[in-house]
Amino acid sequence: MAFGDRLEKLDRRWIFLVVALLVLIPLLWPLQLPLAVSGPAKRYYDAIEAVPEGSIVVLAGDYDPASAPELVPMTRSSVTHLFRKNVRIIALQLWEGGPPLVDAILHEVGDEMGKVYGVDYVNLGYKSGREAVMPSFGNSFSRTFPNDYGGKPVSSFPLMRQADNFGATALFVNISAGYPGTKEWVQQVQGRFQVRMVSGSTPVQAPEIYPYLQAGQVLGLLGGMAGAAEYEKSIGVPGPATKGMDAQSSAHLFVVFLILLGNAIYFSRRRAQQGRA
């Protein structure tokens, strides 16, 4: 059997093993590859940096545990950056699987930075209804979310008494993994309520956001773990995304190698067949 044939019939578990090693080894022994901050990530940082101290920002974390390795670091960095500027946060979630993830980040970072729940941040929690929730939320925060994540009336929180619609906020941060997410927030809320907005997305969804980024409807964009790592670098707080970039580099390089190898075998076979014919 020719070498190419043997490779093509290779048990795919060998490929799985190499992928596992290529992900695991850089996580255990980081290579510390140089990281450049891309334009969309720089614009995300700049948009948050431009928020005046003391103002209010809405943060929608629309994802679930499947996207947590990419989107949790983005959320954590955004919350850290906002709290560092003494910006107050109103958070909400439209994905049923994710609210505890966002809630944990708010409390962890809030406690670290001495923020008080109800005064410096409020988590409105989850509301079912997906896209239908968005215009309703744009009209009135308290009407759409009468209670917070823990079930307390939002009217009992000083922060919520100061902001009931986007007119009272300085920025909208959406970190999302798909539907409903940034695209729907732009379509339902951004233009209608004249909202300044930034987005953090999975790499699959990020290309969908580029037209809105170029049009200025989205002011900045973090795409996947790379975007999260670039943002961590921008705020000077390296975290899990930065650690993950070495593993992602080696895995991407291996996928590229496999595509090239697979095609090299394919073309050599085709040439051999044409030679016989």
Partner: protein, 215 residues
């Protein structure tokens, strides 16, 4: 006829409310949006009942993968029972509740595991299925290779000594910001026009297939 008229009134009111913020329009539109949220929420109950019905029947009749269906129904029932009856009522998501424990130590790792498997299957598929048979496929492959390597630090490292314009990160960003964007925008405009046309057909009663009725 009544459903068609109701659809027209509701559809027009919600569209007009997008452009007219006056209370006479905005308030009834807000009520309709509240109803929409309630209907979607009701859909979850219907969805859960449907999961029980479809998988329950298949499990009892021992159809294909019947064992997995028992696992699905058992897990779902366990989460519902734990959430409703053993986790402090509305405080079911608080730290320390059995439901939160199940979320943290069962749901989160299982969902993360499922998604992580993609990396292995993508690598395997890249080797076995991604064949450059046509010019279109070649263009796709070249763009994919540039973006895949250009969006990670190794791309910067590999091409750092080259002029900036031909460095992989620069080329990856250019591909994302221009050719990709142009194609995405074209698709979005086409889809948007299609949605508008379909919406108008439904509001005007020309399209009635959603009511199981021909126009």
């Amino acid at each position: 006829m009544i459903p068609v008229v109701l659809t027209a009134i509701v559809g027009l009111l919600v569209i007009v409310s997008f452009f007219v913020p006056h209370g006479a329009i905005a308030e009834p539109a807000q009520i309709l949006q509240d109803w929409a949220i309630i209907i979607v929420a009701s859909g979850y109950v219907l969805g859960a009942a449907n999961v029980y019905k479809v998988n329950g029947e298949a499990a009892v009749k021992m159809q294909k993968d019947w064992l997995y269906k028992y696992v699905l129904l058992g897990s779902m029932t366990a989460m519902i029972v734990v959430g409703f009856f053993f986790s402090g009522g509305t405080e079911f998501l608080n730290e320390g509740s059995p439901f939160k424990w199940a979320y943290d130590y069962l749901y989160v790792p299982m969902q993360a595991t499922m998604f992580s498997l993609l990396a292995f299957f993508i690598a395997s598929a890249a080797f076995r299925a991604f064949r450059i048979r046509t010019v279109d496929a070649a263009l796709l492959a070249i763009a994919a290779l540039i973006v895949m390597v250009g969006r990670v630090p190794i791309g910067k490292l590999l091409t750092d000594s080259l002029p900036e314009v031909i460095q992989l990160p620069t080329m990856a960003n250019w591909l994302l910001e221009w050719p990709q964007n142009a194609a995405k925008r074209g698709i979005a405009i086409g889809a948007g026009l299609g949605v508008m046309a379909t919406g108008l057909r439904i509001i005007l009663g020309i399209e009635r297939s959603h009511m199981r009725e021909e126009a």
